[in-house]
Subunit: 343 residues, 2 copies
DNA sequence: CACTTCACGCGAACCGGTTCGATAACTGGT
DNA sequence: ACCAGTTATCGAACCGGTTCGCGTGAAGTG
């Protein structure tokens, strides 16, 4: 069931079979048919490893995703799915690689052993040695998120600064004056995660601009942490009337905390943030939020990566996305605001 | 940066380098050190494709997961994560393969082209041609879920029959008499998805045993469908006082539907089902449910698969898991039940 | 001192493809 | 009838590893 066997049965040489399949040289219609018949009979498919060895291409891209220790968020899931789909459209497979504790090891596997033609990096940090490393090697890669110095690199990212600011403005417009910010876990912030930093930045600046009183919190990636965080918020400043969150996994816990504190959303308290649309619609009331376009990001990332693999000298490209805030049901007028149905 | 280059610089033959690395033949301590030094200097790593070609092993397992058209559930996410992690522990990579519309094509990629040494199949159907196909080929694979005739195949599954029955008994014990069942989408049931069928079965039989009045529903994998499904339930029988669901993605919608119908959980209405623990804790009130042990299943699946790859003649093995119901806050006494705090 | 034994290292063949250069069989022009 | 130019095919080399069989020199033995 290898190319030699096909050649033998079709009465031609191995190279002729190869050319008949690839079409890189002319093969007479006669022999092509003869070869095709044998192939169909035997159900032959060329061996991927041999092909990869011969032409230096594995037709596989690596998806370097955060370690399982972190809880995965719905957004990441959607993203992975769309990457796989987009890759299939380009005839690429996707190899998952955990960038765990021992991120060097899996990196060596992917790149050193040439398992993949390129890589997509998730959960970028502002100073990311992985990005620097790949850039130094000239290895085709696309980052999901941008580092502090993204010039000259390929990436697709969300404008977290602008999104967090948009949330602040939305709340300020509604009359909220005391607003909390619920960030990703402290360890991620310390590690320099891009979304956590830029989001915090955008929030802080916009809040200052609007003269809001704010407090910022880090919160674990799970419901229990969310609930606990909300208790802290109300304890620190009971007059807080709204929050902005980047932490999708904590959302359910935040809502529960509000319910237990007897604050009705959106009458007594407004919630907004940056969350995958599908998950914003899962909670009640549905979350007014900047919907993370995970599918679009996955598609873009693959398109860029494939482009880069095909033309190694192409100039760097990127996509910076700024999805609008989808108005749903979790935000309302702030305290002391004259509202249409007030007496 | 290939093995020949290493050999040249170390002043030995290629085979010696190979043996020094694999340890399959003795190499003197002297030359081993010499070789190692060169390798360290150059950062050499053996090419995975070449190695795979030579020894017929790719050290990669395929994860055949449902098409993106379906919405992914949290359980699937946890599962994928744990598979990747467990595979890494066995020194295997994980290749994702969408078993989309054109499932044949990706199957051919994985198996025909020998990209993987074995495969894990998700979302099994009672009559699953993929399983039959792999069994016929003798290709190492482990199914997540069991077909109608699982004898002689390798699988790890959840006892959906028992779990759904346990939910019914739990509700019946609490005094509920009119109970609804919210299944996965109709198209999946028609397609013969194992969990949908066995769950429905277990529910129906247990309900008959306990003499309950039941209605069963199919529901899309998203919040909007969940809400709509709940409206249908209350419309069809307003006296319904509890539901059992297998549909994790619809859970948020079901809760919303209840809230909008003015039914308080668990006072007026009880909700339970089979859901990944992490997601059961996200909703408010937290869901009393049989927690899907996704991580454990991922680990088991990988362990079985690796075992099967290593010893092709080993007798079939499987794991059938029946996690207990975790009592949380979404179920309470049924209507007409004397309760401690009743007047 | 000749004779086995053993540790060590080498060369060649092989895994299954791709690709280059050469050759042979036709074609058409003069 | 001869030469240039196609067109279709073949053989050999190569990609970068692994593995088998053999040769060599040193150590062990009677």
């Amino acid at each position: 069931m290898n190319i030699g066997e096909i050649a033998r049965r079709a009465g031609v040489s191995r190279s002729t079979v190869s050319y008949a399949l690839s079409g890189k040289r002319a093969v007479s219609e006669d022999t092509r048919r003869k070869i095709q018949r044998v192939i169909d009979e035997l159900g032959y498919r060329p061996n991927a490893s041999a092909r990869a060895l011969a032409n230096g291409r594995t037709n596989t891209i690596g998806l370097v995703f955060p370690p399982a220790g972190n809880h995965y968020t719905g957004m990441q899931l959607d993203f992975i799915g769309s990457v796989v789909e987009a890759a299939a459209a380009h005839d690429y497979d996707v190899l998952l690689s955990p960038s765990g504790v021992d991120s060097d090891r899996s990196f060596q596997r992917l790149l050193g052993e040439r398992r993949v033609d390129g890589a997509i990096l998730m959960e970028i940090r502002l100073e990311d040695d992985r990005v620097d490393h790949l850039a130094a090697l000239g290895f085709p890669s696309v980052a999901i998120g941008r580092t502090a110095h993204p010039e000259g690199t390929w990436w697709v990212g969300l404008d977290h600064t602008a999104l967090a600011a948009a949330c602040v403005h939305h709340l300020a417009d509604l009359g909220h004056r005391r607003v909390a910010f619920v960030n990703r876990p402290a360890q991620l912030l310390r590690a320099g995660y891009e979304s956590a930093h830029r989001g915090l930045d955008g929030f802080t600046k916009a809040a200052a601009e609007r003269g809001l009183t704010v407090r910022t919190y880090c919160c674990g990636d799970d419901a229990a942490s969310g609930q606990e965080c909300l208790e802290r918020i109300l304890h620190d400043d009971p007059a807080t009337s709204a929050l902005v969150t980047l932490n999708e996994a904590a959302l359910g816990g935040l809502y529960r905390g509000l319910a237990q504190a007897g604050r009705h959303v959106p009458r007594d308290f407004s919630v907004t943030g940056v969350v995958a649309g599908r998950w914003a619609e899962t909670v009640t009331p549905q979350l007014t939020a900047a919907d993370v376009p995970a599918e679009e990001m996955g598609r873009h990332a693959v398109d860029l990566l494939v482009e880069r693999i095909d033309q190694p000298d192409a100039p760097p490209r990127h996509h910076l996305l700024t999805p609008p805030i989808s108005l749903r049901a979790s935000t309302g007028p702030g305290p002391g605001t004259a509202s249409v149905d007030a007496p």
